[in-house]
């Protein structure tokens, strides 16, 4: 009897856990897809004469 009573709640917990896992995975995947789009964007920024840009960034010391 106690087992029967526990069973639905255990099942519920499992489902909830699975849902949480699913959500987490989906969110992580969405985050990564997102990041891929940002990386595409960054890549276009980097295409413009990076070598000249980096060597031209010269400062004097400060403080």
């Amino acid at each position: 009897m106690p087992q029967e009573q526990r069973s639905p709640s255990t099942q519920h917990d499992d489902t909830a856990a699975a849902e949480t896992r699913h959500k987490t995975t989906t969110r992580a995947d969405a985050g990564i897809d997102d990041l891929d789009a940002i990386l595409d964007d960054i890549e276009t920024v980097l295409e413009t004469n990076a070598e000249e840009y980096v060597s031209g960034f010269v400062q004097k010391g400060g403080e």
Binding site: L35, L39, V45, A50, F57, V58, Q59, G61, G62, E63
Partner: protein, 530 residues
């Protein structure tokens, strides 16, 4: 107090343009910051005392290098007092923003970020005026990869009765190890990036001494400049080791953890803690070497040699420092039913939670492999070096799938990520594209408000308010003083504001509201005239 104390930041920006030189570009940007009425207010250098040393000595003036003498009037220097009570000016070859005085780390970060907005606006106006043919660009970083470094300084008001040796000992342990969560990440190892690699901090490689007065050569981990801008029983701790972060969380942590450790020094006696013994346990055998090692160590696990012979990792030292704060707070404030100290205010509670989270984040990343580190979204929303590393590593996988990370860093496109991260120009800034993925501690609206409104609870309120209301009636100003032009009777008025926690909105708003001109305010607040 608590995490609350008078805090201010100073940020030097990198500036570039198509032709000319950085000194001229810095003047161009600051000229862009000045509107007509406020531009002729002079900065009052009379109270600056850059050769006073916290260790109780004064450097002979003749022995000081000329670039340490910031109280000498310089013929070309341009200063702009901002409506928010801060200051924009040319410092050497960089435009610099000093925030107004604030009283907690969260507000300090809001005003620090407001500086970006003011500088961006200044550069835009300078470009629109045709200066440098409209090619001026600003960056919030600290290194050019060719040997030059510039600063992002923190200032904390603290009790003078804490022995300076204790301040130096605790701050050394903290500054060497806090890099793990405050670093903004850098491509290149060594001052000129002589060796390929990625490191946690922008600034670490430029520090060569443990404790000293100067800031532009042989930089020390603990700077002893003792120029309080405050009453005689207080000192200002001037911190020069930090990175100019773009993210909010590392900046709140940088200011918040340091403030809590200063509080701990101020209250260790009350708590019955033998602070000298505790600091002795954390004394590094070679702090400068440790500073470099921690920054270069992406495993986050390198053991650091301690003076007493054993070893500890940077993370372990941070855990010990954090525990020392808890122990002191538990004795001073008491504990609740869960054993948590009863923190006296929300800001302190938040900083202590964020510090704990940072220690958890570091532990998680320490045990994560490369794949897991690339997926670590939450940690990367708080650790700036990690987010930067993720972007560089992902880009390396695209551009050089078969080349090891360090080797691929020779590609200028990857180096460009590090520089463009720091760009204040929203279109070209890589950080701007990622900002929404980072944890914020302030909204854009709060930052915008802080760009033209002074903090209410320090003397910055009166400074900012007077500069906003009557810029044409002010002759000179400094952190501690405001001097008017002559009033109609030919008298010049000077208000001394030695205490940063006075001249607040609460104390002065009635006098300002009742005044027709700045001289009314001066008379109401007891200024003297000559």
């Amino acid at each position: 107090m608590s995490v609350k104390r008078v805090i201010g930041t100073e940020t030097e920006y990198a500036v570039t343009a198509a032709h000319g030189n950085p000194v001229q570009w810095s003047f161009d940007v600051i000229a862009g910051a000045a509107d007509g009425r406020a531009r002729r207010i002079r900065w009052d250098y009379r109270q600056e005392d850059p050769v006073n040393d916290m260790r109780g000595r004064r450097l002979e003036r003749a022995a000081a290098r000329p670039d340490m003498l910031t109280d000498e009037p310089q013929p070309h220097i341009t200063n702009v007092l901002a409506d928010n009570g801060g200051r924009l000016y040319v410092d050497h070859a960089h435009p610099e923003y000093s925030s107004p005085e604030t009283t907690d780390p969260f507000t300090a970060v809001v005003y620090d970020t407001a500086g970006d907005m003011l500088m961006r606006r200044a550069a835009a106006r300078a470009n629109a005026d045709g200066r440098a043919d409209g090619t001026l660009r600003l960056y919030r970083n600290n290194v050019d990869g060719k040997g030059a470094s510039w600063g992002a300084h923190e200032n904390y008001m603290m009790r003078r009765d804490v022995p300076f040796d204790d301040v130096a000992a605790m701050m050394t342990a903290h500054f060497v190890t806090r890099q793990q969560y405050t670093g903004s990440g850098r491509i290149g190892i060594g001052e000129r990036g002589e060796r390929p690699g990625f490191q946690l901090s922008q600034r670490a490689d430029y520090f060569h001494m443990n404790v000293a007065l100067q800031t532009t050569f042989d930089r020390p981990i603990v700077n002893t400049r003792d120029e309080p801008h405050a009453p005689a029983d207080m000192r200002r701790l001037h911190v020069i080791v930090g990175d100019a972060n773009r993210m909010d969380v590392p900046r709140v942590l940088k200011l918040g953890t340091t403030s809590m450790l200063l509080w701990t020094l101020e209250h260790a006696d009350d708590a019955g803690i033998d602070i000298d013994a505790r600091l002795g346990e954390l004394r590094l055998a070679d702090p400068v070497d440790a500073m470099h090692r921690v920054s270069h160590d992406l495993t986050l696990a390198e053991p650091l040699a301690l003076a007493e012979g054993s070893v500890m990792t940077a993370w372990q030292i941070q855990v010990m420092l954090n525990a020392l704060v808890y122990e002191t707070a538990a004795a001073v404030h008491g504990v609740d039913t869960r054993g948590e100290p009863i923190w006296p205010d929300r800001e302190t509670r938040s900083v202590m939670m964020m510090w704990k989270q940072a220690l958890v984040d570091i532990a998680t990343i320490r045990h994560a492999d490369v794949c897991e580190r690339l997926q670590a979204e939450g940690e990367a929303s708080r650790l700036e070096w990690l987010l930067k590393w993720q972007i560089i590593e992902r880009m390396r996988a695209r551009l050089h799938p078969d080349t090891p990370f360090d080797e691929a860093l020779h590609d200028p496109r990857l180096q460009m990520i590090d520089l463009k991260w720091a760009s204040l120009d929203d279109e070209g800034s890589i950080f701007a594209k990622l900002r929404a993925r980072t944890e914020r501690t302030a909204s854009d609206d709060e930052v915008a408000e802080a760009s033209h409104t002074p903090p209410e609870d320090t003397r910055a309120w009166l400074r900012g308010t007077l500069v906003t209301r009557w810029p044409g009636q002010i002759r000179a100003a400094s952190w501690t003083r405001i001097t008017t032009l002559d009033d109609p009777d030919g008298m010049q008025w000077t208000l001394d504001m030695a205490n940063p926690l006075a001249y607040t909105r609460e104390q002065c708003s009635a006098a300002v509201a009742a005044a027709d001109d700045i001289w009314d305010v001066m008379r109401a607040l007891g200024a003297h005239h000559d």
